[in-house]
């Protein structure tokens, strides 16, 4: 059955339940697809043997009439999640040879639900980037190309390997993490669904930290339903993560009622940024119309502090990162480059181990926290963060969800924007405020650009109200009927 890889989590699980095929067959199809598409560089570590062994165990459970929500379903893991005894790199040279002696809470939950591990996915180094260009293991190639133009495009970042692998049908789904847009922007660039839950919804335990107060793991899938199913497995309070919320996990899939009548959809007037392509503006309007047609009411809202979101983010995230990355010192694990003294060993190790973007952010972070600058930068940024969160709070008095574009452009070519970090940072202009406010947000593939590339729309929900967000996403998905696939450029496809 050649279209195994076109299944969704939901349809594949139903097929397994109905014994139409085995988990081993399903997994083997994905293992083969991965082998045939190594050119995408989506994986840092492939674990076909593990995947097949897990699939075999799944088949045995299924045969006994047992099996979890994700039983027998092959997925892939962003290489920021620690996986026991499997190389975990954060796409950084500095974690060379690091095999964690523990399993992250999220991956453990996924395996406990029956999912099979295809491997570890490429990403921007330490999740710092919006193009997947900063990986020590080389860039990930977006499976999409513009028709008639064979230039390679970026998949977005930092969960670029996750988005590319799901879009290219190398995995039924993947985990991502989102600090400033790292799930939603690559989901938008690759034409898939990416969901960043409310901060505290999913455990961060065992996920290599970038910026602790912003990082949040979430599912990357091809359908909204799959995102709801996978989030249900990933979410939940973890006593090992002090910032995870002691809240019950709702049945996210049950939220997909298709009924959004009477719902108020906020349209932030400040998100009509200068220089945004008309086609994105048009897609946004299309999204508003679709929701209106389904019975929702668009309301204009104001998020005036949004303009401060990027500078605020680029102070807080590097500040936290500068401390989070201090542990990579060559003493206990990963790369060590010797030196004549302890300080020299630190310098040699960190100089060789970190890439340019990581170094830039560590330096920015150390600077904004240093004596004499703390008040002017870090403290001010914290105050702005509070104001940005208040913006959303006030907006949600007038609306139930917020609709925006996911990113101000479609995927760009590899090598573009590389000489201007600020232009690169602008990619996250619509996604960053959501992280600063700790809210849930998700990107839905809504259409194609004139160039034939996928474009996403973002839905933002109230804190811990992923259900309403998912309900709206389901309606948007049905209306958009996004069926385009990046097949033409892929190996192993007709």
């Amino acid at each position: 059955m050649s279209d195994f890889t076109d299944l969704t989590l939901a349809t594949a699980r139903a097929g397994l339940a109905a014994k139409k095929f085995s988990a081993v067959e399903l997994t083997q199809a994905h293992v083969t697809a991965i082998e045939q598409n190594r050119a995408l560089n989506a994986f840092i570590t492939e674990t076909p043997d593990k995947a097949l062994a897990m699939a075999k165990a799944s088949d045995e459970r299924l045969a006994r009439g047992e099996g979890g929500v994700l039983e027998g379903l092959p997925i892939a893991i962003k290489d920021l999640f620690c996986t026991k005894d499997i190389l975990t790199t954060a796409a950084s040279h500095i974690l060379d040879g690091f095999n964690p002696p523990y399993e992250s809470t999220i991956t453990q939950k996924l395996w406990d639900a029956g999912a099979n591990c295809l491997g570890k996915l490429n990403l921007d180094e330490f999740a710092m980037g919006s193009s997947n260009m900063t990986s020590h293991y080389g860039p990930v190639i977006n499976p999409w190309t513009k028709p008639g133009d064979n230039r390679q495009l970026v998949p977005g970042g930092s969960s670029g390997g996750s988005a590319a692998s799901v879009a290219a049908r190398l995995a039924l789904a993947a985990t991502g993490t989102d600090t400033g847009g790292s799930i939603r922007q690559p989901a938008g660039f690759c034409g898939i669904v990416g969901l960043k839950p409310t901060y505290g919804r999913c455990s961060r335990w065992g996920v290599v930290a970038f910026a602790s107060s912003l990082d949040q793991a979430g599912p990357m899938t091809r359908t909204v339903e799959d995102a709801a199913i996978m989030l249900g497995v990933m979410a939940g309070h973890d006593p090992k993560d002090s910032t995870s919320a002691p809240m019950p996990v709702p049945d996210f899939k049950a939220a997909l009622t298709g009924d959004i009548r009477g719902l108020r959809v906020g349209i932030p007037k400040e998100y009509r940024v200068d220089g945004m392509p008309a086609e994105i503006e048009a897609l946004w309007q299309q999204g508003i119309d679709w929701l209106k047609d389904a019975g929702a009411t668009p309301v204009e809202i104001s998020l005036p502090m949004t303009k401060h979101a990027l500078p605020t983010y680029y102070i807080i995230a590097p500040a936290e990162a500068s401390a989070n990355l201090s542990r990579y010192d060559g003493v206990r694990f990963g790369l060590r480059v010797p030196g004549a003294s302890l300080d020299e060993m630190y310098e040699n190790t960190r100089a060789a181990g970190f890439g340019a973007e990581v170094k830039r952010r560590v330096l920015i972070g150390a600077y904004v926290l240093s004596a004499g600058y703390y008040d002017a930068y870090y403290l001010k940024a914290q105050r702005l963060r509070t104001l940005i969160a208040k913006d959303f709070e006030q907006a949600f008095e007038k609306c139930d969800v917020i609709l925006t574009p996911t990113a101000p452009s479609a995927a760009f070519a590899i090598g573009e924007k590389m000489d201007d970090p600020l232009a690169m940072y602008l990619n996250d202009v619509f996604t960053v405020p959501v992280n600063l406010a700790g809210l849930p947000g998700m990107s839905i593939p809504a259409g194609l650009s004139a160039d034939g590339l996928p474009l996403g729309l973002q839905i933002i929900g109230r804190a811990f109200d992923e259900e309403t967000m998912i309900r709206v996403a389901g309606v948007l998905e049905s209306a958009a009927t996004f069926t385009a696939k990046p097949y033409s450029s892929l190996a192993g496809r007709a």
């Binding site: 964690p100 002696p101 500068s322 990355l325 003493v331 694990f333 630190y346 150390a366």
Partner: protein
């Protein structure tokens, strides 16, 4: 930031070459919280384990590991705060203190900077002369300890032991309210006593579960505060007192020679009897403190605070006041007896239903002397509280004299037998039979008629001679009061 409203006391000043100086002392004590597990992980905290056997991935700063606060450590910090008469802050914040060192696995220490769990408090010091002083406590905060670098294991390499990494510490900061090394010593003794009463720190300085940084400056009486130096990590009360004396002398010498004090961190070398510069203010780290985003602000449940309050033991100050009031002890004796909870408990058992004054004398005198000689604490005393009480009972009911009691005490120490058994088996029961004593007196007086005449002609001092002779004749068993009484009558002209 270095102010003090302590009134200048002439007697605390020390003489320099050019006049008198006042020493200003503030102490920062790191006290290891008595817990089974670390401040942010479940790893054990036991002292003396094999290197790197009590380390979780959290303590080792592994990727993706997250801290979770140890609630027992929080409760003990609250308890300590209450014991220091301090403000408990219902909301406090953990910060990251950033610096690189091989034994600091995460590259930052989780500490509390601007919002500690405990605010201002105060402590009363018991001085050797029985007087007291009050010293302010600035704050108490929770933080994790670092690991240990071992530089002596290899010619060129440094080994790292992370067993201590993440062990919970309370940093207790005093106001600069002390003026003499003795006061600093009394502060540490009192703090240790309170911590031990509360069971929040074992106060063991040799094992490093209590360490002290001393801030020392000097000034001319009445002048503004001078530049201070911090002497790091002094590990005994005696060394703290020595280090302060030596550092103050050093500063006075510099100032009297027309020099200025540079603000720096110094180390005390007890072998050479000097303090040495470690790093200057310019070399001081910029720790880039900021709130730890892995930990939410610590919000204390008022019910927990109430529960801890209800569980507070009677602390040394209250106990001392009670001993003075109920047992009519001197402030000094009371102070000595309450310093350790176990001593106070032992004393109360001995004093129960007996002459408390006598009990205090026996405990602080003979018993302490014996324990000192044996090098054991009161918990390991070979004579139990009941045993000592039994001895005191024999004195009270005139079975033995106080003098004989000393011998009985020595025998008790040696044999572990009860006072009663010893008195019986050795026939030490004192003679209270008037006839027997009289008979003995008569014999002595008859044998020393010359001395009797001398006495009667005014040589009063000879009274002692006759007492001695009778005692000798009765093997010390004559009741001293009865003997005195009868002798005086017989010698009367």
């Amino acid at each position: 930031m270095f102010t003090s409203d302590v009134v200048m006391r002439e007697e605390t000043l020390i003489d320099g070459r050019t006049g008198k100086w006042e020493i200003i002392i503030g102490l920062e004590v790191h006290a290891q919280v008595t817990t089974l597990s670390k401040l942010f992980s479940g790893a054990a905290t036991a002292f003396g384990a094999e290197p790197n056997t009590q380390v979780s991935p959290v303590d080792a700063g592994f990727p993706g590991m997250l801290p979770v606060i140890n609630e027992i450590a929080v409760e003990k910090a609250v308890k300590t705060g209450l014991g220091l008469n301090a403000v408990i802050n219902q909301v406090s914040v953990f910060d990251r203190k950033n610096y690189f060192y091989a034994d600091l696995p995460s590259g930052y220490q989780i500490s509390q900077y601007t919002q500690p769990i405990v605010g201002k408090g105060r402590m009363v010091l018991d001085m050797a002369d029985g007087s007291t002083r009050e010293v302010g406590v600035t704050r108490l905060h929770l933080e994790q300890d670092a690991g240990k670098s071992l530089h002596d294991q290899h010619k060129t390499l440094t080994f790292v032991d992370l067993n201590r990494a993440g062990v919970p510490l309370m940093e207790i900061v005093s106001e600069p309210d002390m003026r003499t090394a003795e006061e600093a010593g009394a502060y540490l003794k009192k703090l240790r006593s309170i911590l031990r009463y509360l069971g929040t720190c074992d106060g063991n300085m040799e094992e490093g579960s209590m360490r002290c940084d001393c801030n020392v400056s000097v000034r001319r009486p009445g002048e503004p505060l001078g530049t201070r130096n911090e002497i790091k990590n002094v590990n005994s009360i005696r060394f703290v007192m020595q280090a302060i004396e030596i550092e103050a002398r050093r500063q006075i010498e510099i100032l009297e020679d027309g020099g200025v004090i540079k603000q720096e961190t110094r180390l005390f070398d007890p072998n050479r009897g000097e303090t040495r510069a470690m790093r200057s203010k310019e070399e001081a780290h910029d720790y880039r403190y900021f709130p730890d985003p892995d930990l939410l602000p610590l919000v204390l449940d008022p019910a927990m605070i109430e529960r801890v309050k209800a569980s507070m033991p009677e602390l040394p100050d209250a106990k001392k006041a009670r001993f003075i009031a109920d047992f009519k002890l001197s402030p000094y004796d009371a102070g000595v007896l309450v310093a350790e909870q176990s001593t106070a408990h032992f004393f109360e058992q001995v004093a129960q239903g007996r002459d408390a004054k006598l009990a205090a004398n026996w405990v602080t005198g003979d018993l302490f002397g014996a324990l000192n000689k044996l090098g054991v604490g009161i918990e390991a005393s070979p004579i139990s509280a009941d045993g000592l009480g039994g001895l005191i009972d024999l004195i009270a009911d005139n079975t033995i004299s106080g003098k004989i009691a000393k011998d009985v005490f020595a025998a008790m120490l040696e044999t572990g037998k009860s006072a009663g058994d010893i008195v019986e088996s050795q026939g030490l029961r004192q003679v209270t039979d008037t006839g027997a004593i009289e008979k003995s007196i008569d014999e002595i007086l008859a044998a020393h008629t010359d001395k009797v005449s001398e006495y009667r002609s005014g040589k009063d001092k000879l009274f002692g001679f006759f007492v001695g002779q009778v005692m000798k004749a009765t093997a010390g068993k004559a009741n001293p009061a009865m003997l005195n009484d009868l002798l005086r009558k017989k010698l009367a002209p």
